[in-house]
């Protein structure tokens, strides 16, 4: 604190602390707390209330029936009772419209088997995307950071940056066109006679979750390349040379020198890729052309904007957040890196 | 401009468990060229940063012109610091750099520029005022830093090894210029260096530091001829050191039992017999013995002879102990020296000090 005031003076320090506090509280923590809070309650209509209303209506009709047959002073008395009953009914109906807020774990425990299955599948595929991306990207990052000459590396970086910077939706869309019923792949299979487009005998790639998987790998693979590249770029080339001169084999060099060095980058890449895949709404939405809800993000979306069940949606979202957070800790453990190494 | 005095009263600085500066009392007189000399890491920069206000001492008080600087931040102290790496503002032109302190004081642009131009003349940078500092040579950058510091008319100018990045020739030249500027302005200079030549030639007084403590404060001559501690004796200039025990002490002299036999030197500190002590003799105060025997005579074997130009370094050795002599270069006469030689020195040229840490330890 004194260090801050000494550097920036009181007024600026106050502004910086104020803005950062707004950011942390107003945009990061409190909204997520609200989301979490919302996931722990349901709006409950008191369960006996509709019964009570039914019974009151039944009473009312009995009274009306009595009223029709009543004579003399009893009639006024019945009329009075009818008025009271009507007020009671009005009160009950008002109660029915204002449901009670009940704190419960129900939003979590009541997840349907289907939704749970979707959830597991999403996590599984996200993990697969991550592993595949790691395996595919490590050689690329290594080649650009360590082997290529500076000029060539700049050129190759350009080749990475362009697809990376193009909108995610459009990148996925490209794969939709490839895997479509009359898309590039089916047409090519048609040429070699495996499919026959004329009679609609094509392979329905788009109907399998594999299509989402393929597009997802494509969409997020570059989030793995850049972090690994960034760490490997700082690895002293002489270190690799030295290991080679000592007679180490290529495998050994990678296993003992390069990979340990690249660990922070790998951790970041894995965290980013997993988080993006597990939470991706765009890829399944486009690959299924918005029709099926086979991905957890789509299930969440439906809870919010189709079933209009925000509490349930909040619970699902919170579950996803927890899984992603656990994944971060898992990666920190696996790669033995600290918080400060992440997102560097 | 006129200088102010600077007073350190029991000032110390501790970082965690590193004592960078031990409790120190020091008085620097107004208008003085005062140097702090010491090996790397001895706490020189730390002292300077405390005086300029970037570090708050762990204990003690700093007074400038009699005023306690305790609550006064670096931007309100009458000091200006020239940083070890100069810290010129890379995004500003030369004159803007120099005028920065005036801008901070709210001087209008026109006046600022005029004043900056005066300083540019003072440091001989006319013609470079619009350049970016990155486009200047090392010496020119040095001058910008000096002009920038002087622009705020400080009472005390603090310089942290300002010449260390320059080549030897330029350093010589800048020494003279700094000294001239100091004379002209009358500002108190506190000059940090680990180059003793620099300190000895420029300073009115020098403080020698070792491991966070000031070991001696004195003018150049006193420092060289009358060092207070073995560290100062060996850090400033070269020294032959003979370690031993005092055998007898009388009439201002002490006789030491050393690996080279008994040797006699000035007993300035009045050491008594039995005390463990060192005898220090400057290489240039020793001679080869021919004819009359001096107070002390040693025999040793010639090992090497290095030519320095006007004089010759003669290295001798006996029982793993080495001795060096600076002899005037007398041409062919001295070239054939070899084998065992008798060397000697007068007892007046040897100084006996209580043993302690040497600069080369």
């Amino acid at each position: 604190m004194t260090e801050l005031v000494r550097s920036y003076g009181r007024p600026l320090t106050a502004i910086f602390i104020g803005l950062t506090t707004l950011w942390i509280l107003g945009m990061i923590l409190v909204p997520q707390l609200f989301m979490a809070e919302r996931s722990f309650w349901v709006e409950e209509k008191p369960n006996d209330i509709s019964l009570k209303i039914d019974r009151a209506y039944a009473d009312l009709s009995t009274m009306k029936f009595d009223l029709a047959r009543a004579e003399g002073p009893g009639k006024d008395e019945i009329a009075g009772r009818i008025e009271a009953k009507k007020r009671e009914i009005a009160g009950l109906e008002e109660q029915e419209k204002q449901p009670r807020k009940v704190y419960t774990m129900r939003n979590y425990t009541r997840m349907s088997a289907l939704h749970f299955q979707i959830f597991l599948r999403t996590i599984f595929y996200a993990a697969m995307v991550t592993v595949l991306a790691l395996v595919v990207c490590y050689p690329v990052a290594y080649a650009i950071a360590q082997v290529a000459t500076p000029r060539r590396a700049a050129f190759l970086m350009l080749g990475l940056i362009i697809p990376y910077a193009i909108n995610e939706l459009l990148r996925v869309y490209a794969w939709l066109m490839i895997l479509d019923y009359q898309g590039v792949l089916n047409t090519m299979l048609d040429w070699i006679g495996v499919t026959d487009l004329a009679t609609q005998q094509w392979i329905p790639f788009l109907q399998s979750p594999g299509a989402v998987f393929v597009a997802m790998v494509y969409a997020y693979i570059l989030f793995m390349v850049f972090p690994i590249y960034n760490t490997l770029e700082t690895l002293d080339k002489n270190q690799v040379e030295a290991a080679r001169d000592l007679g180490a084999s290529t495998w050994r060099i990678h296993w003992r020198v390069v990979i340990p060095y690249a660990k922070p980058g790998m951790a970041v890449g894995c965290i980013m890729t997993f988080m993006l895949s597990a939470g991706s709404y765009s890829v399944p939405q486009i690959m299924t052309r918005g029709t099926s809800g086979d991905w957890f993000s789509q299930t969440i979306y439906r809870q919010f904007f189709e079933s209009n069940n925000w509490n349930n949606g909040a619970a699902y979202a919170f579950t996803l957040l927890i899984v992603c957070t656990l994944f971060i800790f898992l990666m920190m453990l696996v790669f033995r890196v600290g918080v400060r190494d992440i997102a560097r | 401009m006129h200088g102010k005095d600077v007073e350190l009263q029991g000032v110390s600085m501790v970082f965690g468990d590193v004592v960078a500066v031990a409790p120190t009392d020091l008085t620097i007189r107004a208008g003085e060229f005062f140097s702090i000399l010491g090996p790397s890491g001895c706490g020189k920069t730390t002292i300077l940063r405390m005086i300029s206000g970037f570090l708050t001492p762990s204990a003690g008080r700093i007074l400038i012109g009699g005023e306690d600087m305790g609550d006064i931040g670096p931007n309100r102290r009458p000091t200006a610091l020239i940083f070890q790496n100069l810290a010129l503002f890379p995004l500003m032109s030369v004159w803007e750099n120099i005028a920065f302190g005036l801008e901070a004081r709210g001087m209008p642009k026109k006046a600022r520029r005029e004043r900056a131009m005066e300083l540019i003349d003072l440091v001989a940078l006319r013609g470079h005022e619009e350049k970016r500092t990155g486009d200047l040579s090392g010496g020119q950058r040095q001058r910008v830093a000096i002009a920038r510091a002087l622009a705020v008319e400080p009472a005390v100018l603090l310089l942290d090894e300002p010449l260390s990045a320059l080549d030897a020739k330029l350093r010589q030249h800048m020494r003279a210029e700094l000294k001239a500027i100091q004379r002209k302005t009358g500002v108190t200079f506190i000059y940090i260096t680990h180059d003793q030549g620099e300190a000895l030639t420029m300073s009115d007084r020098i403080a020698v530091m070792n491991k966070g403590a000031v070991e001696q404060v004195a003018a150049s001559d006193r420092l060289y001829d009358d060092p207070q501690t073995p560290f100062v004796a060996t850090f400033v200039g070269e020294q032959n050191v003979f370690a031993g025990r005092v055998i007898e002490a009388e009439a201002g002299f002490a006789l030491l039992d050393t690996p080279f036999g008994p040797l006699r030197g000035r007993n300035r500190d009045g050491l008594a017999a039995g005390a463990s002590a060192v005898l220090c003799v400057r290489p240039e105060r020793m001679q080869l013995v021919n004819g009359a025997l001096p107070d002390n005579v040693i025999s040793a074997d010639v090992e090497r002879r290095d030519l320095e130009g006007p004089f010759v370094n003669l290295f001798l050795k006996r029982n793993e102990e080495s001795i060096v002599l600076h002899l005037p270069n007398r041409g062919a006469a001295g070239r054939e020296l070899s084998g065992e030689q008798q060397i000697g020195f007068s007892a007046d040229d040897g100084l006996v000090l209580t043993s302690g840490r040497l600069a080369r330890d």
């Binding site: 801050l4 080749g159 047409t187 052309r289 029709t291 949606g313 | 206000g53 200006a80 070890q84 705020v152």
Partner: protein, 283 residues
């Protein structure tokens, strides 16, 4: 010079093994880049096919009519305008937040700074849909419904983190002595900030602004939850996949690809120039 010569001898000594493994690596790179670019080519090509369903295989002749169609598409144009509005909003919100966070984190010496850092970068590590949902739920309690404003706030939450990281990287390269020198010359903290720190950060502020804007325009996962009944260019594209998929989307793709190529080339060229300048300085 000697280093290069040494490397040369090493390369000669181990030439066969090295050449072989480098060939494999090169082939791998070629395949990888084909994988990256082929789908984009397919998508771009369909923009010029006059067939009304996006396709490259049912080629019915070259046309530019889908470009014309795009200029008549009111919803897409409105979406673009909304995206631009949100983008500027995000710049205005995210940059000050990112700067504040960076200033604090680079100077705060406390046990808490690690935790603070974790919290401030957490939006980057949080799935985008969750940022959208949390923003939506939070603001609903204050009575604000989904729309452009919420989309902007939700995006700014994580874009601010990205800006912060950029500012921190720059601030860590700043020579503290410059600030101290300015203070020593009598400048107030504010003047140091205005005359030294901000000019030093200026190029990064510009870059961070551009990147924030681009990230905002491109964002889908967060926006789709926070946008309510309104729409941006990207959410509109997203909804076209369900109804009304036409080569107009491919035209947008072509434009995106073209703009990206131009920007990326400029970016890499600038980087390369900076690298060469640095290399020249070093020797």
């Amino acid at each position: 010079m000697t280093a290069a010569a040494d490397a040369g001898t090493v390369a000669v000594e181990r030439a066969p093994a090295r050449r072989w493994s480098n060939q494999v690596l090169n082939l791998y790179l070629v395949l990888f880049f084909v994988y990256l670019f082929a789908p984009l080519l397919v998508m771009s090509a369909a923009a010029f096919n006059s067939y009304s369903y996006p396709s490259v295989t049912q080629w019915q002749g070259f046309t530019l009519k889908w470009f014309v169609e795009l200029t008549r598409d009111e919803r897409l144009l409105q979406g673009l305008w909304n995206s631009i509005l949100i983008g500027f909003g995000v710049i205005a919100v995210a940059l000050p937040l990112g700067l504040s966070g960076a200033f604090i984190l680079t100077r705060l010496q406390s046990r808490w700074s690690g935790i603070l850092y974790g919290v401030l970068v957490s939006p980057i590590l949080t799935p985008g849909i969750i940022l959208g949902i949390a923003t939506l739920i939070f603001w609903r309690n204050i009575g604000v419904a989904g729309g452009l404003f919420l989309a902007m706030m939700a995006q700014a939450t994580f874009i601010a983190s990205y800006s912060m990281l950029m500012f921190m990287a720059r601030l860590q390269r700043q020579d503290r002595a410059l600030e101290e020198a300015a203070l020593d010359l009598g400048a107030s903290n504010f003047m140091v900030f205005r005359r030294i720190t901000i000019p030093f950060l200026a190029p990064t502020i510009f870059t961070a602004g551009v990147i924030a804007f681009l990230q905002s325009i491109e964002n889908y996962n967060t926006t789709v939850f926070a946008i309510g009944g309104n729409w941006t260019l990207v959410t509109e594209i997203g909804s076209r996949f369900r109804f009304g998929l036409s080569p107009v989307i491919n035209v947008i793709g072509v434009i995106f690809v073209a703009l990206t190529v131009v920007f990326a080339v400029i970016y890499v060229a600038l980087k390369e120039r900076e690298r060469r300048a640095r290399a020249a300085l070093v020797g």
